[in-house]
């Protein structure tokens, strides 16, 4: 399969969040700010790509009956690596993301890709699939994080630097609280549905 198609597949056509609705918990929990979404996304890209590579390399070795536990151990190992690295170099972000870093291990996106793609495809495709899916997840995290941060704090912080000198309007605190996460995500998905339907009827006409 064409590598470019595999990459864009994860970002657009089978975007794990917007199209397949996988990994909702970390998505909603950590997206109180744009940068939280970014770093969570980086962690997921790393785990997803690495585990895809190893699963693909071992795909002829692992006995089918015990494949799921094997996948879990592989994923858990990379999650532990991420935990240690983040704790060492980004301790503040590690603190903010909290239990959702170790919880990457139960993120359905990762196990689903190991099972559905990496265990059936060669190493290079598996790696590209991991990057594509991870990117798709990161984009979703950053969109949701950006929207929530913008309306919830009336500002955007990028790399520790606020984008605007003062809040632009009276911030709606609820956006960075749990209800804001659910409602924003629901509205984003609905808008996406509207866009997809528009595109479809446009193509049909």
């Amino acid at each position: 399969m064409n590598l470019w198609r595999i990459l864009t597949n994860g970002v657009v056509k089978e975007n794990p969040v917007f199209r397949l609705l996988l990994g909702l918990c970390p998505l909603l929990a950590v997206t109180t700010a744009l940068m939280n979404g970014f770093w969570m996304g980086v962690a997921v890209i790393f785990v997803l790509t690495s585990s895809n590579i190893i699963v693909s390399m071992l795909r002829k070795v692992i006995a089918p009956r015990i494949r799921i536990p094997c996948f879990i151990v592989i994923i858990a190992t990379f999650v532990t690596i991420v935990q240690m690295t983040m704790n060492a170099y980004l301790p503040d972000m590690y603190e903010i993301l909290g239990i959702f870093v170790p919880l990457i291990v139960v993120n359905c996106v990762i196990l689903a890709r190991a099972e559905a793609f990496a265990s059936k495809n060669p190493v290079v495709s598996a790696a590209v699939d991991g990057i594509g899916m991870g990117l798709g997840f990161t984009i979703a995290l950053m969109v949701l994080g950006g929207v929530r941060e913008f309306f919830g704090t009336a500002n955007l912080v990028i790399n520790g630097q606020p984008l605007f000198d003062a809040p632009l309007f009276e911030p709606a605190l609820i956006m960075i609280m749990p209800p804001g996460a659910f409602i924003t995500m629901g509205v984003l998905l609905a808008l996406l549905n509207v866009m997809v339907n528009r595109g479809r009827s446009g193509a049909g006409a």
């Binding site: 909702l24 909603l28 532990t80 139960v106 359905c108 409602i183 609905a190």
Partner: protein, 194 residues
């Protein structure tokens, strides 16, 4: 007193779904009707209480004393998935009736991040084995309350003329958000207990 605080906190104030964003996949997936939600709740109650207790035991007996806490993620996920397997096998032999009602839900639990989440939270709070089990139970109770209430509303939504673009998951998420607003009313309840 601490037990009461953990129970109240877990069910009402720090509800897994409405405040902590845990266990959302099955929350959205298995909530189409109240019966299914109840079955799933029973399975989660059972597994989560045990998982929180067992992982706390493992943490305090093995990982902590031997300086192996970095293996937390790996060991916890293994313990939880084998526990689910074990519970399934055990129920099949010991109580076929219970197995018939819970059986289909059990495999779904391994990917339920709430179980792992409750275990991690218990350890980070420094609860002992007993309190960890209570914390797991409280979390599961709160999750069950949330999913059963949600399933009741979703059954009613089946009949509602929801706009096309919002049908399905989007409106389910908005519903959850509105429920989370209602649960905000419990913020700060019984502050003197905590």
């Amino acid at each position: 007193m601490e037990i009461i605080a953990i129970l109240l906190g877990g069910v009402l104030i720090n509800n897994l779904v409405f405040a902590q964003f845990l266990g959302l996949c099955p929350f959205v997936g298995v909530s189409k009707n109240v019966e299914m939600a109840t079955g799933m709740s029973a399975a989660v109650l059972f597994v989560m209480t045990m998982a929180a207790g067992v992982t706390a035991l493992l943490h305090s007996l093995v990982l902590d004393p031997y300086g192996l806490t970095y293996l937390e993620t790996v060991t916890f996920i293994l313990v939880i998935s084998s526990l689910v397997q074990f519970v399934e096998t055990f129920l099949r032999k010991a109580s076929p009736v219970l197995h018939r009602s819970l059986g289909i839900y059990l495999p779904l639990i391994t990917t339920n991040c709430a179980v792992m989440g409750a275990a991690l939270i218990s350890v980070r709070q420094g609860y002992g084995v007993g309190l960890s089990a209570v914390n797991g139970f409280a979390g599961a109770l709160g999750w069950s309350l949330a999913i059963i209430l949600f399933a009741g509303i979703r059954e009613r939504l089946e009949l509602a003329s929801v706009p096309e673009a919002l049908k399905g998951i989007p409106v389910a998420l908005v519903t959850t958000g509105l429920m989370a607003i209602a649960f905000l009313g419990f913020q700060g309840l019984f502050r003197f207990l905590f």
